[in-house]
């Protein structure tokens, strides 16, 4: 037995902060019989418990895998630094929450990687488990290491560490991977054979079966598969309709980031904001029917006891029947005067699609703590560049409705560093925020609050802005200084990101395989929790890039030509590079494109997923009917 002993842990847990992060046992957690399960997954999230437990993808996979007979899935999160020290000092390996087994005993470790700042934590977790961090140094005695999630649409920077990547909707891929592992165990496959079988599964990318050649100037010349099983390109997998909703999620004891029930009402977004990674890689749009959502919320409430439910989607007010849905939920679960106390939150509301009726409904049920909008840019010109055409008048009238219904705080999200952005565009952020405050004061007086978050654009792969250089440091600093100087006063609050942290995200987002050396070195020099400002070690990263001879500016500040081969071009998210290039060129002319529910711009999704679309009713995806066009 290699379960970590209770007595051993008992010496450690009282010495660390929030020991409840490491003890499991939560409502709806699943502990299956280790010996009768053929395939054992450790589902890993490379950040602390409170963040990982708010990741919806992980929750879905945990539920799905544990429903399978003879399959178990247990959770593991990155221990905070105090727990890491304690475990290392006691020579204890990183273990799962459910059965307290070392990660090395599982067949497969599945990491969720929603963003790039988690990369060093992935290495650290492997190391804490006593596993070699480099895929090439692991063999059949070690678990397979798989990663999925939003960041892996450019898997290349992590290619040295991860055996296989799962691209796209994980629900179907993980079951196929599970089957391959089970069969591989039965046959006694060696690691390499198993990886070949995995490489054949649609949506699985095994980086060691692809060779990258570079040009003299350092850009990619060509990516070539080296094994017949390796797919070229490696295309993401999609669920043609949304799988049945998760209704029995683990209910954490600790206060997590999103401590509430979640129902995914829609996957994908039709708006086409040019900076938005999620809006491109999660296409097509698939809605969950109203009846299914209502039924699911009943079950979630009964199964969890949550008093808040979030309706999850990239743009929840674009859900075609949002008012019917929220009205139905209010009628069933809300209405304080009737003793029902479920709060309903819609995390992403679009200014142009949030109606007065919807606000009335949310007033009935919401916590009324704050209302968030993301204009992202404050001038009409710049909104044309980023393809988020909203109207200031609309924003101000919506905000007035919000304040007049008792919400005291309006949160506004903006970005700086958009292509062509000038200080005038930044000054417009200040003006707009003050206009919002003025509306709030007129309605609510001095209680009205405006919180403005200004992040810096990180150009992302698979978006129309994948050709765009990261904005210059001095420019960003000047713009942030301007905001700090001018966006202040009673009722105003400003948040911004440090440039060095933005820079790291930017370098990792559009990196190639060679970055693996820098990630490894930075981790060896102590980098971890790179997404935490108080843990981010800028010096470790600087030294790592210096020692490995890699140039940060090459990855971040360089203007890429339209015909450049990108390190992620052989990863197919369904949206074609040709379409992205056209849309990028449209942005340089300030041309907007309508919501693609109204008009198809041939992004490539329909031809990439012709088979998945076949047989579905016409309105199943957000795509409009396209007559006479051959794709």
């Amino acid at each position: 037995m290699s379960v970590i002993l209770h007595e051993t842990l008992e010496r450690i847990l009282p010495t660390v902060r929030k020991p409840g992060r490491y003890t499991g046992g939560e409502w709806n957690s699943v502990v299956k019989d280790w010996t009768t399960c053929q395939v054992r997954w450790a589902l890993a999230f490379p950040d602390i418990y409170e963040i990982g437990m708010s990741n919806f993808g992980l929750a879905i996979l945990y539920d799905m895998l544990n429903r399978e007979p003879e399959v178990l899935a247990e959770r593991v999160f990155a221990p905070w630094t105090d727990m890491e020290q304690a475990l290392r000092a006691a020579d204890l390996p990183l273990f799962s929450l459910e059965s307290r087994r070392p990660l090395g005993e599982f067949d497969v470790i599945g990491f969720t990687l929603p963003y790039e700042q988690l990369y060093t934590n992935l290495l650290n977790m492997l190391d804490m488990a006593g596993l070699p961090v480099l895929a090439a140094e692991r063999n059949g005695r070690h678990p397979l290491v798989i990663a999925g999630g939003g960041a892996v649409y450019n898997p290349e920077p992590m290619a040295d560490f991860v055996d296989a990547f799962a691209l796209g909707d994980g629900e179907e891929i993980v079951l196929d991977i599970t089957r391959a592992i089970r069969e591989g165990k039965e046959r006694g496959d060696r690691r390499e054979e198993l990886l070949r079988r995995l490489a054949e599964i649609p949506g699985v990318y095994v980086p060691r079966f692809y060779q990258v050649a570079y040009q003299q100037d350092g850009t990619v010349a060509e990516v070539r598969p080296t094994e017949p099983q390796a797919q070229m390109p490696a295309r993401k997998r999609i669920a043609s309709t949304l799988p049945p909703p998760l209704t029995r999620p683990v209910v954490p004891f600790l206060d997590t980031i999103h401590n509430r029930g979640v129902i995914e009402i829609q996957r994908g977004c039709t708006r086409g904001c040019r900076f938005c990674h999620a809006g491109m890689v999660y296409r097509p749009v698939r809605e969950r029917p109203v009846e299914e959502v209502l039924q699911a919320v009943d079950e979630i409430v009964a199964n969890t006891g949550y008093d808040e439910i979030a309706l999850l989607s990239l743009s929840s007010s674009d859900y075609s029947q949002i008012e019917t849905l929220v009205g139905g939920l209010v009628a069933r679960h809300s209405g304080r005067h009737e003793g029902r106390h479920l709060s309903i939150s819609l995390p992403s509301l679009r200014i142009e699609s949030v109606s007065v009726a919807l606000m009335e409904q949310l007033r009935e049920t919401g916590r009324r703590s704050s209302f968030t909008f993301a204009p992202e840019a404050a001038t009409e010109r710049l909104r044309g560049v980023i393809n988020k055409p909203i109207d200031d008048e609309d924003l101000l009238s919506v905000v007035e409705e919000v304040y007049s219904r008792g919400w005291k705080t309006v949160k506004l999200y903006f970005m700086i560093g958009h292509p062509t952005q000038t200080l005038d565009d930044v000054a417009a952020i200040v003006d707009l925020a003050k206009q919002v405050r003025a509306v709030g004061r007129r309605v609510l007086g001095r209680k009205a609050q405006v919180n403005v978050s200004v992040s810096t654009l990180v150009p992302k792969p698979h978006t129309p802005f994948q050709w765009v250089p990261l904005a210059d440091e001095d420019e960003i600093r000047a713009q942030q200084d301007y905001l700090k100087e001018n966006l202040r006063g009673p009722g105003l609050k400003l948040n911004w990101n440090r440039y060095q942290e933005t820079l790291l995200e930017a370098v990792l987002s559009r990196g190639d395989r060679r970055l693996g050396a820098a990630i490894l070195r930075a981790w060896q020099l102590g980098a971890r929790f790179d997404g935490w400002s108080d843990q981010f070690k800028v010096e470790a990263w600087r030294q790592a890039f210096e020692e490995t001879g890699l140039e940060i500016g090459f990855y971040t500040r360089r203007a890429r030509s339209l015909d450049e081969v990108f390190p992620w071009d052989h990863i197919d998210a369904g949206v074609s590079k040709r379409y992205l290039a056209q849309d990028y060129e449209a942005s340089t002319r300030g041309e907007t494109r309508a919501d693609c529910r109204e008009q198809c711009y041939a992004c490539g999704i329909l031809s990439a997923f012709r088979e998945e679309r076949a047989g579905l009713p016409a309105g199943a995806w957000g795509c409009p009917p396209v007559a006479g066009v051959v794709r």
Binding site: E7, E10, R11, L13, P14, K18, P19, G20, T23, G25, E26, W27, V251, F253, L254, D255, V301, A302, N303, T304, G305, Y306, D307, R336, H337, E338, G339, H341, R367, R368
Partner: protein
């Protein structure tokens, strides 16, 4: 049901229940606030008609008698709960148990006065049993206890609202005795003040006795209230 009977749906509390419960090993690292939320959710899963506070952000009306230090188990914990419809206290433990996570157990439920004082304002003392693995014979520990109880004041430091603060542990200690436990371990039974005026922590007493090296477990075995007297 008469028309009058429908009136209870307006959210006014109709019944106040007092639950005695155990918080076991599985939950001992869950903080006081997290435990309160765990109870709330369990009551909702069990379909109990909880009464809510008035105001802008209504919360279920629920009060825990006394925070248990993180890492300490308890088998005489108390909470009060207000309901908008009366339920039969006798069947409540059985009704709740399927909705409780491992480590929580309802031991007893009874109705109590709807408008009586808050439970946490009524506590006076608590009894803790600490199992201590120590090489020393029981007599040595007993004499250390005696010496400790003879000093007029025991000044110690603790964190309070982010600052280090000096306080006197001695007046918070009512009794301490040592009993033999199984397999050569010692059991310290302590009765410490636990009231709105101040509370003694069992780990502080162990520390003052020099018993924190090595391994120990602590359980709160009893809570005493003003109304017990």
């Amino acid at each position: 049901m008469s028309g009058e009977g429908q009136m209870v749906a307006d959210g006014t509390p109709q019944q106040r229940l007092r639950l005695r419960f155990a918080k076991g090993e599985q939950l001992k690292y869950i903080s006081h606030l997290d435990l309160a939320r765990t109870w709330e959710r369990a009551f909702r899963r069990a379909g109990l008609p909880m009464a809510y506070s008035q105001g802008y952000n209504p919360r279920p009306r629920l009060q825990l008698a006394a925070a248990l230090p993180v890492g300490v188990t308890g088998r005489a914990e108390y909470l009060d709960l207000w309901l908008t419809e009366a339920v039969e206290p006798g069947g409540l433990a059985a009704r709740l148990q399927p909705s409780l996570p491992a480590g929580l157990e309802v031991l007893h439920a009874e109705e109590t006065e709807l408008r009586g004082p808050a439970l946490q304002s009524q506590t006076s003392a608590a009894e803790y049993r600490a199992r201590v693995w120590s090489q020393e014979p029981a007599e040595a520990i007993a004499s250390r206890i005696q010496a400790l109880l003879e000093v007029p004041s025991i000044l110690r430091q603790r964190h309070h609202k982010g600052k280090m603060q000096t306080y006197d542990l001695r007046p918070l200690i009512q009794t301490v005795i040592v009993e033999p436990g199984p397999e050569g371990e010692h059991v310290l039974v302590m009765r410490l003040q636990l009231s709105p005026q101040g509370a003694g922590r069992p780990d502080e007493v162990l520390s003052a006795l020099g018993l924190t090296l090595g391994h120990y477990t602590i359980e709160r075995t009893n809570l005493f209230f003003e109304f017990d007297k």
